[in-house]
Amino acid sequence: MMSKIKSFDELKSVQERLKAGRDPKKPCITICVGTGCLAYGTQKLVDNFREELTKRNLTEKIDFRTTGCHGFCERGPMIVISPDKVFYQRVGLADAGEIIDKTLLKGEIIERLLYVDPATGKKIVHEDDVPFYKKQTRLVFGQNSKVDPESLEDYLAIGGYSALGKALTGMKPEAIIQEVIKANLRGRGGGGFPAGWKWDETRKAEGEPKYVICNADEGDPGAYMDRSLLEGNPHLVLEGMIIGAFAIGSSQGYIYARNEYPLAIKNITLAIKQAREAGLLGENILGTGFSFDVKINRGGGAFVCGESSALFASLEGRAGEPRAKYIHATHKGLYDKPTNLNNVETWANVPFIIEKGADWYASIGTAGSKGTKIFSLVGKINNTGLVEVPMGTTLREIVFEIGGGIPDGRKFKAIQTGGPSGGCIPEKYLDMHVDFDELTKIGSMMGSGGMIVMDERNCMVDVAKYFTNFLVSESCGKCVPCREGVRRMRDILADIADGKGKEGDVELLEKMSKAIIDGSLCALGSSAPNPVLSTIRYFRDEYEAHIKEKRCPAGVCKALITYSVDAEKCTGCTVCSKVCPTGAASGERKKVHSIDTEKCTKCGACRESCKFDAIIVR
């Protein structure tokens, strides 16, 4: 336990002491234990490393650090060995001993654990040379691999809480707000509203107490940026919140986190306790007289609770339903008091702005969107993971240079951004510069930063149906357009996918979308038609093919497709007959196989496994 730090000067000396204790030349094994890597069984590898180090009496000579997510989730379990930053990926759970003996003790590189650049076929030794990392600007997320999220000392050793010290002792609240306005930090949770203006409104609003809330109710399918920040670097988020609270004039904060994020909740709970003990949170922070404390509220998993007014309702102990926001939360939010709500990533940006200044921050990004953005890059992409890039990076750079392109040499079709209520962006916009305004212009949005890549085997009607279905199940049910309208849209989409679409369905969907956007109570409803509208906008021909020709061009919608074998391509390798769960695919070795359409359930296993592209779907 750290004793109370009573002043900024004392903080500086503690940081110096901790930093001095860290020899940059000392060998250190850094291992990612984010949720993604833990799912690979990394905990076992961690235990093995500890055991093998102890066995060899090396615990003093070699540092071993467990950290949060590094982002390259596709290649876990992964370790980085300092000082040279040797990068090993897909590490076997039993590889610990070998790594210590060869790489740490003898300086040998273990070839099989190196990352192979699929573009060049070359093996890459150092983390910084891996294309996935090379093209990123890991401003916020980069600290994840430098700190053990359970260690306040680690965070202090890299200069953590300096921004807080600077803000509390050297800046007036108004000046902090001006700095955030000047940096043009826009909310990373979806809306993109300038955080500084929100702070300013809340500060000026009448009413006490004022609340500061961190929205950690990230619920987009496939998105885990906020989760990884809270899990991997909780003190950074906390530091941002404390600075914000001081600027706004708040003494009470909340973190509203999903209960489905147990590790994030565990780590932020510990961080709060540590910060309190160290005098960085609670009464009289750093001896400045400013007091602020944070409580954690665990949400029950309703997507809609990420919407501010539903989040407040849930925090107040009521059902998570939104209310009309004709009076802003900055004036009447939680318990009808002035409330400032920002999401995890927004708060995590704050210490950098304070520490390095608004001018520096605003030098990164585009005219309207400053700084970096963390995206969760998933779907049909080689390098699944979390990537952080400056605002304005093109989609092509993200998908092909960082993401490594589409697996199996397939063709890029679309990228869905902005979460379930975002939009699908077609190939022709691959060179667009990603920022808040550009995405909105082409019918999608930034959202919280989800990016789902689709290839030629994704049917856009099916995609629209999937997201609409998600929104149907996540609608709170309060207002009619969202509760009833989105469900009817889903039914029509299901009809189209089932070959029961009717002439005029597309036009009806468009008409309904307009009324739902206009008529819904909250942003969930008013953005719910986006997946449908954007897929109609860019892939109308696919809708037409389903409706008029009863055909699914991508070969996805089961009611409209049949599987058969291309006799010219089939080599009789028997793989399809082995993976087929119903015995529909069959044939003799080295002879052309066939598919019994009566037995075929159209699961697609044969198509996925055929190395000769011999399965025809029509």
């Binding site: 309703a302 009309a324 207002c479 009817r488 307009k514 009324a515 109570l521």
Partner: protein, 239 residues
């Protein structure tokens, strides 16, 4: 005083009033399904939407919640407004095909059902306007009913869908229901009333002898108001 315009008509309003209140005071009709003078507005049905222009910004808002403001220009019948209203009613007609009240309202507004929407078959007439729940909580003060589930599964029911323990049989929920969903059965002689799975014994008026209120309701009123139960033995007509 606040000056605003509704449908080109210059109107003066009090600060804090909603657009719906002001429109009604001035004889401008805005259809609603979840608004009641005894209840705080909730903005659930979306039928009362209007187009509001404030400065350069024009948007669709719910008039039941939107506060009047100086210079506000309101259009209660713009094309966008009509489209929202049409969809809302078409959706409700498909949800509750058996509700006579909804059919009447649709006819009044000249809205035809959308045939592409397959009518629901569960014969529910509930449009989830929340008036019953809000009345039970805020007017009666009992909270015998609430919501369970969410989204399209959402429904009004007693806690855990069990026979209500706290219901006093007052029938206020059935009274405010705009779509005829909540049914209250009364026996022929009037001695018994059934609602929310409970059977309530009715009390006769000491003067006229007619059944006039459930015993549980009178006991509840006596308990919450402090009026002795004997003083509650006379019906409204005979008081």
């Amino acid at each position: 005083m606040i000056n605003l315009t509704i449908n080109n008509k210059k109107i003066e309003a009090e600060d804090g009033q909603t657009v719906l209140e002001v429109a009604r005071e001035n004889g401008i009709v805005i259809p609603t399904l979840c608004s009641h003078e005894s209840l705080e507005p909730s903005g659930a049905c979306r039928l009362c939407v209007v187009e509001a222009k404030q400065g350069k910004r024009t948007r669709i808002v719910t008039s039941c919640l939107y506060p009047v403001a100086e210079g506000l220009i309101v259009d209660t019948k713009s094309e966008r407004v009509i489209e929202v209203r049409r969809l809302v009613l078409q959706l409700l007609l498909a949800r509750c095909p058996e509700s006579v009240q909804l059919k009447e309202l649709a006819a009044e507004l000249g809205i035809e059902p959308e045939l592409r929407f397959t009518p629901d078959k569960d014969s529910s007439k509930c449009i989830l306007c929340r008036m019953c729940v809000r009345t039970c909580e805020k007017v009666v003060g009992v909270c015998a009913i609430g919501f369970s589930y969410r989204g399209s599964e959402k429904n009004v029911c007693t806690p855990f869908q069990e026979d209500s323990v706290s219901c006093i049989g007052c029938g206020a929920c059935a009274y405010v229901c705009p779509s005829g969903h909540i049914e209250m059965e009364t026996s022929e002689s009037g001695d018994i009333r059934k609602i929310w799975g409970r059977t309530f014994k009715m009390k006769t008026c000491k003067v006229c002898g007619r059944y006039f209120a459930p015993e549980d309701q009178l006991a509840f009123i006596s308990k919450t108001s402090g009026v002795p139960i004997e003083d509650l033995a006379v019906c409204v007509s005979c008081r």
